[in-house]
């Protein structure tokens, strides 16, 4: 294995500002052999990246590391110019709130909060996100309503408790929450897998158009049919050298 000479799989223009840079990242869950070895991953600002691979290839672990919720044993994660590993835990949580939006596969929402309150959550934990949400001159409530409408959540649903929304509606609310206040990076972990094909395509259209130009998107999915919509596509097998049979 040759981890000192990382394989560059970054096709982004070299002059673009980087949203994310991963270098020499190695990780093992406590008491287990290393499951992740990512020599390099760069995502430029405004880039859209489709990451695919079978289950067990380390996708979720990688996302945890990128979000700064888990810390790698070796290597660096640089988000918007800041090395996450160099931050103490509480600053890392604050940094995540400021710069990362996350959409999960399902059960994204706090069930007892309304759709609007769910969207506003990042503004409650991050002053930066709140300020940026207000930058259009609107209040954060108006910005939440605007995003929800943009993502196709009708106004009469905004005050409904999240638990009463359909799965499709919940995913749209989750996307609006991840996008509010223009984070640097939007991480989406199989956000369409609970949706039917038509809903999945609509959802993706909306997220991609809302992301365009403002934040980088890293989406994980096993559904290769979606790959063509992204700026580029990366296979976990190419990224993670710990996967058996991975390309060296």
């Amino acid at each position: 294995m040759n981890s000192t000479a990382p394989v560059t799989i970054d096709h982004a223009p070299p002059h673009a500002a980087l949203a994310l840079r991963v270098e020499g990242l190695r990780f093992a869950w406590p008491g287990q052999p290393a499951c992740l070895d990512v020599p390099r991953l760069d995502i430029a600002a405004g880039d859209t990246v489709f990451l695919h691979g079978p289950s067990g290839s380390g996708k979720s672990t990688l996302l945890s590391l990128l979000a700064g919720i888990t810390v790698a044993q070796a290597g660096t994660v640089i988000l918007g110019g800041q090395d996450l590993g160099a931050l103490p835990a509480r600053r890392r949580d604050g940094f995540r709130a400021d710069h990362i939006g996350i959409v999960f596969q399902q059960f994204n929402l706090v069930p007892y909060l309304s759709a609007r309150d769910n969207v506003l959550l990042p503004c409650r934990f991050s002053v930066l996100r709140m300020r940026q949400a207000r930058s259009s001159g609107a209040s954060i409530g108006e910005e939440a309503a605007r995003l929800l409408l943009r993502l196709g959540v009708a106004e009469h649903l905004h005050e409904r408790p999240a638990a009463t929304l359909s799965v499709g509606e919940q995913q749209r609310v989750a996307a609006a929450r991840a996008l509010i206040g223009r984070p640097t990076l939007l991480i989406a972990d199989e956000p369409t897998s609970a949706l039917d094909e038509r809903n999945a395509h609509d959802f993706l259209d909306l997220v991609l158009s809302e992301c365009a130009g403002s934040c980088a998107l890293l989406m994980v999915s096993h559904d290769l049919r979606l790959a063509s919509r992204f700026g580029r596509s990366v296979a976990m097998a190419d990224l993670n050298h710990m996967i058996p049979g991975a390309r060296q």
Binding site: D93, R96, Y112
Partner: protein
């Protein structure tokens, strides 16, 4: 602020499960407060029964027994004190007034107290309040009786009614074979006292001469056969009492009380016991103190069980909430936030339970207070929760805070270990 709103909304969404925990805290706090209030009410009502009386003097006996008998009409002493001693005390230059008391007879379960008119003039209760007549007055005739408020209410007597006293203590009524009646010498109700919330309400008052008179033709606790004196005959006899039960003494100078007490206890002549009421009551609280501590311990245990129930309820909900907590982490909440969220919830529930328990006791006291005063002579002071109650509530709140740290800590550990996706 955000955390508080989140905690409230989260708790509200699980109100079904949590309301049980609140109710159990509420009930245990109510129990704790009730024990505390009953204790205070009991202490206060005992202490309020006698005011301004410096000494209670009676035959040589245990001070507490003497006080309980003379003031609270509890128990029956073996002997009395001589009338001569009582008069000697009354004549002492340091003494302002004396109230002689002679007990032993009863009327339908209520004790009969034979006394002088000094009783109505000098007896004080509560905050030095004098006795007042609700109806009638102390007319002073031989076979006149004044009723305590409760006696009149329970037995339905009015002024002018006639009643017969029973020989012997209050329980004579329940043994018709033993209870001999002074039926040949009926008493006329001269007046009814206003309610005082003290044992005064539960007794009948006659003159010392009347007490002598009804026992003239008696010997050894039974009527002397063939000797029945009419009211007119009685006036020919010397109706000065030979023996009485006790004397209440008011001094001119309060400062003289200790010297006076020592003189009476150790002086020559008849063996007497002089009691300072507050000191004897203190002995009573010492006696009942261990029982009170057991009650306290039981209420504290009940509260501990309720708080464990609270911690268990919050902990049990935690597993279903791992997803929710992971979402909060993903949008930027720190593990400390998660910890505080859970602690806020537990503390909030405890506060709600404590407030509910307090309101429950307050409502019960307002609703049942008059009843408790009428039936047990316990006066609940509703206006203000005492300092001891406030510190109890503060102790409950801090115990709740400590109990909430357990689920808070568990959530903290979970949120650190779960990462973005809890493996449920």
């Amino acid at each position: 602020m955000t955390l508080l709103i989140l905690a409230c909304k989260s708790a509200w969404s699980r109100r079904g499960a949590l309301s049980l925990a609140i109710v159990s805290i509420m009930l245990s706090v109510a129990l704790l407060l009730t024990v505390e209030r009953l204790r205070h009410a009991a202490h206060d009502s005992f202490a309020a029964s006698l005011s301004g009386t410096d000494l209670v003097v009676g035959p040589r006996d245990h001070p507490l027994r003497l006080l309980l008998h003379a003031v609270f009409h509890i128990g029956t002493p073996d002997t009395g004190m001589s009338w001569d001693s009582a008069q000697r005390i009354a004549a002492d230059p340091a003494v302002a007034w004396t109230i002689p008391l002679s007990l032993g007879d009863s009327h339908r379960g209520f004790p009969v107290v034979a006394t002088s008119r000094a009783f109505f003039a000098h007896y004080r209760y509560g905050r030095a309040q004098p006795l007042e007549f609700a109806v009638g007055a102390d007319t002073g005739g031989l076979f006149r009786v004044v009723l305590g408020a409760e006696v009149a209410r329970r037995l339905g007597y009015r002024t002018g009614d006639q009643l017969a006293l029973s020989h012997g203590g209050a329980d004579a009524d329940h043994h018709p074979g033993h209870g001999a009646e002074h039926g040949d010498k009926p008493f006329t109700v001269a007046g009814v006292l206003a309610p005082t919330g003290t044992p005064v309400d539960r007794a009948l008052y006659i003159g010392l001469h009347a007490m002598e008179a009804i026992h003239l033709d008696w010997h050894g606790g039974a009527p002397i056969p063939g000797l029945a004196l009419s009211g007119a005959d009685l006036r020919k006899f010397d109706l000065e009492p030979k023996q009485i039960s006790a004397v209440m003494v008011g001094l001119k100078q309060r400062a003289a009380v200790l010297r006076m007490q020592r003189n009476l206890n150790t002086g020559p002549g008849e063996a007497l016991t002089a009691v300072i009421p507050a000191v004897a009551l203190g002995q009573l609280w010492d006696l009942t103190g261990s029982a009170e501590r057991v009650l306290d311990a039981i209420s504290a245990l009940v509260l501990a069980v309720a708080l464990c129930g609270l911690a268990a309820a919050v902990l049990a909900g935690l597993n279903e909430r791992r997803r929710e907590l992971a979402i909060l982490r993903a949008v930027g909440a720190r593990p400390l936030h998660i910890f505080l969220l859970l602690v806020c919830e537990g503390a909030g529930l405890t506060l709600a339970g404590a407030a509910g328990g307090f309101i429950l006791v307050q409502l019960a006291a307002v609703g049942l207070g008059p009843w408790a005063l009428a039936h047990w002579g316990l006066a609940f002071d509703m206006a203000r929760p005492g300092v001891s109650e406030l510190s109890l509530l503060a102790a409950v709140a801090s115990a709740g805070l400590v109990a909430s740290v357990i689920p808070g800590w568990r959530a903290y550990r979970l949120s650190l270990g779960d990462g973005l996706l809890p493996r449920i």
